[in-house]
Amino acid sequence: MKKWSLNNEKDVRTDFQKARAKAFGWPTHGEWRAILAILLMPLLPAATHAASTNNVDLSEVPLEQLLNMDVTILRGHDTLSKTPAAISVVTADDIRRSGAMNIPEALRQVPGMEVAQVNSSEWAVSARGFNDEFANKLLVLQDGRTVYSPLFSGVFWDTPGTMMEDIDRIEVIRGPGSTAWGANAVNGVINVITKNARDTQGWLTSAGAGNIDQGFINARYGGQFGSNVYYRVYGTYQNNDSFPQPNGREANDSWRLGRGGFHLDWYADEANLFTLQGDGYAGSMDETFTVFDVTSPTFTAQQPAVMDVRGANILGRWTHTFSDTSEFKAQLYYDRTSRDANIFAETRDTVDLDLQHNFALGERNNITWGFGYRYSTARMSGSPTVMFVPADDHLNLFSSFVQDEVTILPERVKLTMGTKIEHNDFSGWELEPGGRVAWTPDDRNTFWASVSRAVRTPSRSDEDIQFNEIQQTPFGPAVLQISGNHAFRSEKLMAYETGYRVHPCDKLSFDLATFYNVYTDLRSFKMGPGFPFIPTTEVNGMHGETYGLEAAATVELAPWWRLNPSYTLLKMELHKNSHSTDTTSAPLDEGENPQQQFSLHSGMDLPRNISLDATLRYVDSLPSLHVDSYVTMDARIAWRPTKNLELALVGQNLFEARHAEFRPTQVQNQATDVPRSFYAKVTWKF
């Protein structure tokens, strides 16, 4: 068996620098100069004025800008506090202060979310259990455009994304999504919402580098045509180094990705808003796959590869306001994604049309209904390691929903009932009804509860895949020849949730959500006789319950110091159905999720325009992957010498030189650890 070199030949650092950086995770010489420069800046006379601790004079701030400023909320007037769902919002400010460079990093602090970095370019992200690189129970949207792949009902995390500074907020709802735009919102919905073009005017550029981030640059320009049309264009480029393997050597997982796009808003008149936006991206990821090789004594071979990813999308949206109580939205988008690795390639085109109408009926009812159609088609090519039969597909999805929000007792009790009805090519008709109730006894307290049914519809991986997975057994290597099953049914969920939010005083707020999920028809395997080639079929042979709670609080110790603790508890109890012979899937799936997670974020606004943020995080072990629990810290210190310039230094995963977060389970990639990393960043607006 030929041995492949694992050294990344593009790395130009000297052997000494590389060895020191990898062994100690310390900044290199060049990075120290940058760090010292940033730390010494406050001492330079010309660039500093005495930082004003008085509030800025708001009468000097233009109206549009006032709308963008955060305030300290005095009472529980926040409309989000009355929502009968486990919702968290990651704001633009949270993203900036966390130093997150991509969407999975921005999700780490959200209670109930499991975010694990598999290698330099890949992530395993889920909510309330069932995490995996190919986690399939989470719906992810970017500006209303679905970014999950019908191949496995999950997300390739290089697909969604934009310039981080253009994200207005990320809404995370744990639990079945009620009026989400598409299918598969089983355990949660994530919607990444970018800013209006009006809020991103002028130039903004940022650039930086660190020990893992070999260099990144972002630039955006926003302007307007006349008085009603606002636009922006942006471009980003990121280049990341590889991660270490558990044995200390570098893995072959470095990557580079460029993105660009535009966003245009036309405020045609009081009642009509048109939006047109589009993005394109291209990049490549280094990988080393463990491929199926019939000629090898272990049936495996290590194959380094470069995976090319490319995509583009264009989306148009029309929002029409009929009256103060009635609004209509129509959205049409086209999306193309393409990925090409040596073991597998796919090019997928999707067209999606969605309509939604919201109106008040009488004094007590607020009705929302919607209809959507999606057509998705792909050309694929595979290899003995993984392929789909048939290779190409043409998938149709019809979905509709209706929801009524009834005011039972004005200001006190609201009941929301609705259902989603879908038809897909694999499992036919699916009905997902749900009900939610919210009780607000006064301005400070909200209690809510909900019951909903959700389904995870079959994907091409369930129906059409042909996949050779090599397992080491005491008798030698075995090859599970896994094939899809055209009789595979949807996985089903009945979710029972409750929650409580309280705002006892100005400086304290607390949010608690609990859930009890009952799953049936979960995916498991049926193995036939044979050795070493074991024919295996995917079946719906498992069921189970998951339950837990998510708690988060905001504590204002001082006007300039805020703490955000959060805690997540998850218990998973999966069982094989009585006639199933699969005794491995249940413990394997359970053990891929941490039982407890804790995080504590401290945000400080210090004098002289310095801000300091630190997040301590604890994640419990993943027993079936042999990944230990870990505690680590991310920190960011930033300085604004002028209102247009920000210098920041970010450290991530600071406690240990490296730690494991996940191990690949299905498509075998190299196992890597997440290293301690730093980067410095300059942001300039004008």
């Binding site: 500093t48 004025h49 005495a50 103060d324 004005p410």
Partner: protein, 179 residues
């Protein structure tokens, strides 16, 4: 390369003039609402008969005052379109007709139908907070908070009925509360 360009940029920053802002403590919810009231006035036209040239423009707060001194301090010495701005605190219903903008505190929730009757036919901009779907009940502008930001919704039909002309620039900025 990265560290070299950082040094260049830092060198340039040392000679840039500029005010210092951004890391100041965030304004409070009511400082922000006071700032909005001040700004609304710039985008609304009152009929000449109600607000003659050079007459003072009164912003009244009816009921419990949530602003602290924020409204008084933001309006002090301000003039918009030739009208000096004055803040007034009102406790009697009959005094509410003597202003051009009336902010109705949530302490007066229960009296809203009475207030609406008193203001009928008068060109007074009514502003309040998101209770009882204020704008659906005939109120003109309502504040609500979403995710640590203050937003507002506008019922321009009610404003037109009161002969108030709200500029489309202001209407563009309105937002619908999600609850």
């Amino acid at each position: 390369m990265a560290s070299l360009s950082l040094n260049l940029i830092i060198g340039a920053a040392a000679s840039l003039p500029g005010g210092v802002r951004g890391q100041d403590a965030a304004p409070s919810e009511y400082q922000m609402k006071a700032a909005f009231l001040y700004n609304f006035v710039k985008y609304i036209d009152w009929p000449e008969s109600v607000l003659p040239e050079h007459a003072p423009l009164v912003i009244g707060v009816f009921g419990e005052d949530p602003f602290g001194g924020a409204l008084d301090s933001i309006l002090s010495n301000k003039v918009v379109n030739g009208h000096a701005l004055i803040a007034r605190h009102l406790t009697l219903l009959r005094d509410t007709t003597n202003c051009q903008v009336l902010f109705i505190s949530s302490s007066e929730k229960r009296h809203w139908p009475e207030i609406l009757k008193t203001l009928e036919g008068r060109s007074i901009l009514t502003v309040s907070e998101n209770w009882n779907q204020f704008t659906q009940a005939g109120g003109m502008i309502c504040f609500f908070t979403e995710d640590r930001r203050v937003c507002f919704d506008i019922n321009d039909n009610a404003a037109r009925k009161a002969s108030l002309n709200i500029s489309s620039k202001l209407i563009q900025l309105r937002k619908k509360p999600s609850a």
